[in-house]
Symmetry: C2
Subunit: 179 residues, 2 copies
C-alpha cells in the first residue's frame, strides 16, 4: 500500500461501470437525454436513486428546473446511441431525433420513457447536493417499466480483458459481461 | 416496455455492482468498517465520491459525527471479510479484530487505511443529503493509496452466468470478471 496517482487508482477500481441514460424536459416539454456512469441506489423505503450530473450540462439545467427525470437502462445493442448522447449537447441537437430513439409517455412525470431501453424508472427529485463540478440529484422512484427481452446491460469498460467488447469512440469503450 | 414490479427491474439493472468498504472512527479513535454497494464518483475537480449509508447503521453515526471516511476497494480474495463487515454491527464487534484486516495510518484523516485492499481513498465529508432510509455522504478525496498487485476487484453479483463465482452467504453472492 503506497501513495499513488489518481490516474493509477481510477484504473484499478472504476470499472465495470453500468451506464444509464437520464431523460429530462424543458418548460415546453422538449426532451433531452444525458449518458451517465455516476449513479447509485440510495434508499430502499421509499425506493430512490441518485445521479451525479455535471453543472455545465444542459440536462443539469433541465433537471434543476423540472425536478423530474427518467432513469433509463440501455441494452448491449445501444452503445452508439449512448455515445451520441454523452458527447453532444441538448442545447444544440434533439437527441431523440438524432439517435432515432423513441419517446413514450410516462405515467407520473413529464419526461418520456425510452422505448428501446431495458428498464425505465420514473423519478421525482426530492433533494440536491452540491458536489464540486457536479450536482447530486436524489430521485424517488414513482414507477418501474421493463422490457421482456433478455438483452444484457451496457457497461463502460477500460482496457482490461474479460469483457465482450461492443464498440466505442472519443475515449469511451463499451462492453458487456461475456455470457 | 410495460409496467413491472420493482423486483423484476432490480434484477435487470443492478449488477454487476462493485463492492467497497468504508472505514470510520468513533471519538476515541476506534475504527468500524461497513460494506457498501451504493457509491459513485461525483466530481472531477475536486475529485469526490458519494456513498449512501443506511441511517440505522453504526457507521452512519460515526461518519455523521467524524466527517471523515476511508473508501477502500477489496480484492477478489476478500469476499469473506466483506460479508462479515456487511452483516455485523460495529456496535457489537471490532471488525478489524474479527476479520484480521490490518489498519494502517492515513495521512490526512483519522480513520485508518485497510492494508489488504487494492485501493484506499482518504475522504473528507463536504456535504450530506437525506434520502429516504439512507444518507448520501459526499467526500472530497484528499489522498490516494494503491497496492501493486494485479488482483481483480470484488463484485456483488446475482444469479446470472458470466462471472467467476467466488463465494457468498446470507443472500449475498460475490464474483469477479472472468479473465
Amino acid at each position: 500500500m503506497r501513495e499513488v496517482s489518481r490516474t493509477q487508482v481510477d484504473a484499478r477500481w472504476s470499472r465495470p461501470e453500468r451506464v444509464v441514460l437520464a431523460v429530462s424536459v424543458d418548460k415546453g416539454g422538449k426532451a433531452d437525454i444525458i449518458a451517465l456512469g455516476w449513479k447509485m441506489k440510495t434508499s430502499g423505503v421509499p425506493p430512490m436513486v441518485a445521479i451525479s450530473v455535471g453543472k455545465t450540462r444542459y440536462s443539469h439545467k433541465l433537471i434543476s428546473e423540472g425536478k423530474e427525470f427518467i432513469l433509463a437502462v440501455p441494452g448491449e445493442d445501444m452503445w452508439e446511441e449512448v455515445l451520441y448522447c454523452g458527447t453532444h449537447s441538448g442545447r444544440e441537437v434533439d437527441k431523440f431525433k438524432q439517435t432515432g430513439l423513441t419517446p413514450l409517455p410516462a405515467k407520473f412525470v413529464r419526461p418520456p420513457l425510452i422505448k428501446e431501453c431495458i428498464v425505465n424508472l420514473e423519478c421525482k427529485v426530492t433533494g440536491e447536493l452540491d458536489t464540486g463540478d457536479h450536482t447530486v440529484f436524489a430521485g424517488e422512484i414513482l414507477n418501474y417499466w421493463g422490457s421482456e427481452d433478455q438483452r444484457r446491460i451496457l457497461l463502460s469498460i477500460g482496457r482490461e480483458s474479460g469483457y465482450e467488447f461492443l464498440g466505442g469512440g472519443k475515449g469511451y469503450r463499451f462492453g458487456a459481461i461475456k455470457r
